[in-house]
Amino acid sequence: MTSNQFYSRSYICFTKYIQMAKEYLGEFEELVLTMVGILSEDAYGNAIVTEIRERIGREVNLSAVHITLYRLEDKGHVKSHMGGATKSRGGRRKRIYTITNAGLAMLRAMKDARVDLWKLIPQLKIVGI
């Protein structure tokens, strides 16, 4: 390995770190965050899984959703509290997630950025088949 390669690699890591810390969410994180926003007061693990399935027809793992939620909470995009006990779920309470202002701002920033980028694509007309 030459020293050149070494430097370039560490450079990549560095930029990625900046982006992640500031204004970057993974695709799945963005999806889960959006769902938390949609479900507002009723966002918890299972509800999100169902919501994703119903809205965009995608099967996701409960564990993946949980992990993403914890990560979003670490980053400050969502916050959580324990809901009231219910009869189902073996009497266990739900952990309800709500989106924070920072999370909402993040979603909006990402949407804006994407819309901006979308506009830059030459608008193609689809000629009828």
């Binding site: 918890y44 793992n61 189902s88 779920r89 073996g90 952990r95």
Partner: protein, 884 residues
């Protein structure tokens, strides 16, 4: 798979703050699933779902603080534990006592095994020092079976040392070492008999005994130098500097030696022992021995150069044999008609660190590695018994503690906490026992050293080890013994316990096998000890064929010189003037002081016989029975060439008329040999481990050795006074010779010293084992009696007699003891048969013995349990029944 178990798995790895949310989500899904696809598949999905959570993102969210013990409750556990120990003083005592004895035993045995292993490990070059050993083929004695024909010993030829040094370049140093010579040492008016060891100059370069003064390179260049230990230096010279002083040493002729060095005394765990070292050249007949390659008399050690190929060395040893003994060996081979494929002589070797436990070769202080195993086994047995006691006691006292468990559970203790609690309690008790145990070790170490003939001392380093072993044992035993009761106790259901069913009995069913087991162990030890004791008593009281009592053995202090005969004669004349001295006999060797044996050929047949040179008073002094012919008579001149033989020799020679036979033991071709003038009844001139071999007595002092020892037979009355007289007479007549004496019966008993030692160790262990298992039984019986208090109250009200109650309570223990004995009897029968195989003369193991030991064990058991039985039987029923 069960839902609960899956969730427990989740709980195990999931961080607690997240747990409820995750579990809830999973359960919700599970409920949906079980409606849609049925419970079974839902469970499967649940399991998969949980598995998917088993990933680093979740697991790493755990805060890894090791919480092995719940620190908050610790204080409470301690408090409750001490209260419990105080409340049940008797049971706590039983447990702590049993455990501390077990621990003390284990530590002592640990020290023993450590000492065995530490033997000779302190020599810097130890791994390069080898003892040369010979394996020779016995070609001349036809009576020996083929497999016994190889004789292995550490005694080799005197000239071998120089030959090895000259011939083999890999031999760096070599020394001969004869440890057990004896001589009279004189300095000024101090005269003592001392043990003298003979070595070569290289001795001081090879071994790591510290030379306190003197030059190791120069020592023994002068043949008249002596090296002594500080104890000897102080004994003779007091505080003066011993170097350069002259000691007169008489070992076969008096010579004066200059003290050239002081050497540190060897420690107790050294196979090489000495106090006075003289150069080998001073051994009597040394010059002659240098020519004799057929005479195996001297241990020889070599130190090989570093990185010597040991297989090459052993090949080289064969070459040395060929060079120096080739001719002689082929001559012997011809004589004995030994086939070519049998090696007549072979040298082997053992590295210094391995000497002590190599019991195939006889050596002073050699030990059987088996002893370590046996002792280790006993230690584990005793520890096991103590642990079993703990378990059964803890379980049976559990009745009293179930309320505590119930309340703890109601207040919120989880099972793990209870397990910790009870585990902790047992460890606390074990630690207390450990302290008592270590104290016991320190108290009993001197006695233990005496039993085992060791010199173990508690030093700082092994003190730390002792405490370390103690703590380790305490934790192991505490955890092991506490583990089961902890599980048992923590399993109580609070609802059942607290509802108030106090009268339910403790299920003691499975503690019974435990009690049987320990009783069987004790029974095994009881039977074994009784057999050992009976055998030892048989040996010590068996009629040896001669009278061994009230006989004083006095060495003439003349070495092997003919002068000894004169001393015997003079001293006899002097002593017979005293009225309480019955007779004085002379011999060349007293019993258990060595023996000599002639090998000879008669009519082409190889024979051998033991020989003692004696004087005419010998047979009468020892009260031997002459069955044929007569004793020696000093007035008949020809008796100096006559022999008295024992019956075994007559049988061996197949003589029909022994009194008209001749024993040509010197293979004299010009005459018939020695005339047989008498036959004595067989007597045990060796230990009872050996059978009575052919033997003859003669007055041939020239060939069979001069008289060296006097046997003085005294009247049994006024013994101390008589002995005083003898001592005074000796000092009068031989002021320059030390007066050493022993008693014949003590000498004879010494042959069995190692057995006696083992018997006392065995007896001690038996005592302790019985004590501990009795303590256990005592506790168990007590709790059982308490359990049945109400039953007995009712029975008494209904009219039961005291005796009936007594029988009722004790019946089961009799059964337990009986079963234990049935288990133990065959095991002890087997192992005792192995032990008895060492003896040529032994007791028979009869059924009476087993019955006897069984009765002993049974009565011990009954005595133990009776206390409680009687106590319970005497309780006023009103007391026990008033709460109903």
């Amino acid at each position: 798979m069960k839902k609960e178990r899956i969730l427990r798995f989740l709980e195990w790895f999931c961080p607690p703050p997240l747990y409820e949310g995750i579990e809830g989500d999973l359960l919700e899904q599970f409920e949906i699933d079980s409606k849609q696809v049925g419970e079974k598949r839902a469970s499967k999905r649940l399991f998969l779902g949980v598995l998917k959570f088993f990933r680093p993102e979740i697991i790493l969210r755990n805060r890894f603080t090791l919480q092995l013990i719940n620190t908050i409750m610790m204080g409470n556990y301690f408090k409750v534990a001490t209260r419990n120990i105080q409340k049940r003083k008797l049971y706590s005592f039983i447990n702590a006592f049993g455990l501390s004895i077990g621990i003390a035993f284990c530590i002592l045995i640990f020290l023993f095994i450590q000492d065995e292993k530490s033997f000779d490990q302190f020599h810097t070059n130890g791994k390069r020092i080898y003892r040369i050993e010979e394996t020779s083929y016995n070609y001349w004695n036809p009576a020996i079976e083929e497999k016994d024909r190889y004789n292995r010993s550490a005694y080799v030829q005197v000239p071998l040392k120089q030959a090895l040094k000259d011939e083999l370049p890999e031999v760096e140093y070599a020394t001969r070492f004869n440890p057990e010579g004896s001589g009279i040492v004189k300095y000024g008016n101090k005269v003592f008999t001392e043990t003298i060891s003979y070595a070569d100059g290289d001795f001081f370069k090879m071994f790591s005994f510290k030379l306190l003064s003197g030059n190791a390179d120069k020592l023994f260049e002068n043949k008249l130098e002596v090296v002594i230990t500080p104890v000897i230096a102080e004994k003779y010279f007091g505080t003066d500097d011993p170097i350069g002083k002259t000691l007169l040493i008489d070992d076969e002729g008096e010579k004066s030696y200059t003290v050239a060095g002081v050497i540190e005394a060897p420690p107790a765990n050294s196979s090489i022992d000495f106090s006075i070292l003289l150069p080998q050249e001073n051994r009597s007949g040394y010059e002659k021995q240098l020519e004799r390659w057929g005479n195996f008399s001297t241990p020889t050690f070599v130190q090989l150069a570093p990185n010597t190929d040991i297989t090459k060395f052993s090949l080289n040893l064969d070459k040395v044999i060929q060079k120096f003994m080739g001719d002689k060996l082929s001559e012997w081979r011809k004589e004995g008609n030994v086939p070519e494929n049998i090696k007549m002589l072979e040298y082997g070797y053992t590295a210094l660190p391995d000497w002590h436990l190599n019991n195939k070769i006889e050596w002073h202080k050699v030990s059987n590695p088996q002893y370590s195993y046996i002792l280790g086994g006993i230690a584990i047995l005793i520890l096991l018994i103590a642990s079993i006691n703990y378990i059964s006691l803890a379980l049976t006292t559990s009745a009293a503690r179930r309320t505590e468990v119930g309340i703890r559970k109601v207040v919120g203790a989880v099972k793990n906490q209870l397990i910790y609690q009870f585990g902790l309690e047992s460890i606390i008790l074990a630690l207390i026992s450990m302290f008592v145990g270590v104290t016991l070790v320190i108290l009993f170490l001197p006695a233990f050293n005496e039993y085992t003939q060791k010199g173990i001392a508690v030093t700082l380093s092994n003190g730390i080890q002792i405490v370390g072993v103690g703590v380790l044992l305490a934790f192991v035993v505490g955890a092991l013994a506490g583990c089961y009761p902890a599980l048992f106790l923590s399993g109580f259901r609070p609802a059942v316990v607290l509802k108030g069913r106090f009268t339910t009995k403790v299920q003691a069913g499975f503690t019974r096998p435990l009690v049987i087991m320990q009783f069987a162990l004790s029974a095994f030890l009881i039977i074994s000890s009784i057999i050992m004791y009976k055998q030892m008593r048989f040996i010590t009281t068996k009629d040896l064929g001669y009278n061994q009592h009230q006989i004083l053995i006095i060495p003439t202090q003349t070495g092997w010189q003919k002068e000894g005969n004169k001393v015997v004669e003079q001293f006899r004349t002097r002593l017979l003037q005293e009225q309480d001295i019955l007779s004085v006999a002379g011999t060349n060797m007293s019993f258990n002081r060595g023996w000599s044996r002639y090998g000879y050929k008669i009519n082409g047949e190889h024979k051998s016989a033991f020989v003692y040179s004696v004087d005419p008073d010998y047979i009468s002094t020892l009260n031997m029975e002459v069955v044929m012919g007569r004793n020696f008579d000093s007035s008949i001149l020809s008796d100096s060439n006559a022999v008295v033989v024992n019956e075994a020799l007559v049988k061996d020679m197949k003589w029909d008329d022994p009194l008209n036979s001749y024993l040509n033991y010197r293979e004299d071709s010009t005459s018939h040999g020695a005339k047989v003038i008498g036959v004595v009844k067989d007597y045990h001139f060796r230990s009872l481990e050996a059978k009575i071999d052919p033997l003859f007595l003669c007055m041939d002092f020239k060939h069979s050795g001069a008289l060296t020892t006097m046997m003085v037979k005294m009247n049994s009355e006024g013994l101390p006074k008589t002995m005083e007289k003898i001592g005074k007479a000796w000092k009068e007549m031989y002021p320059d010779k030390p007066y050493d004496y022993t008693f014949l019966d003590e000498d004879v008993a010494k042959q069995y010293k190692s057995y006696e030692r083992w018997m006392s160790i065995m007896g001690l262990s038996t005592g302790f084992a019985i004590l501990i298992s009795c303590l256990g039984l005592f506790g168990l019986a007590g709790i059982n009696a308490v359990n049945r208090t109400k039953e007995i109250g009712i029975r008494k009200v209904m009219g039961a007699e005291l005796f009936n109650i007594f029988v009722l309570l004790n019946k089961q223990y009799v059964w337990l003891a009986l079963i234990a004995f049935v288990l133990a009897a065959p095991a002890s029968w087997y192992s005792m048969n192995l032990w008895l195989a060492d003896f040529e003369f032994k007791i028979a193991i009869g059924w009476q013995l087993f019955v006897g030991s069984m009765l002993v064990g049974l009565s011990i058991a009954l005595l133990t349990v009776s206390y409680h039985a009687i106590k319970t039987a005497f309780v006023n029923p009103a007391e026990t029944l008033k709460y109903e």
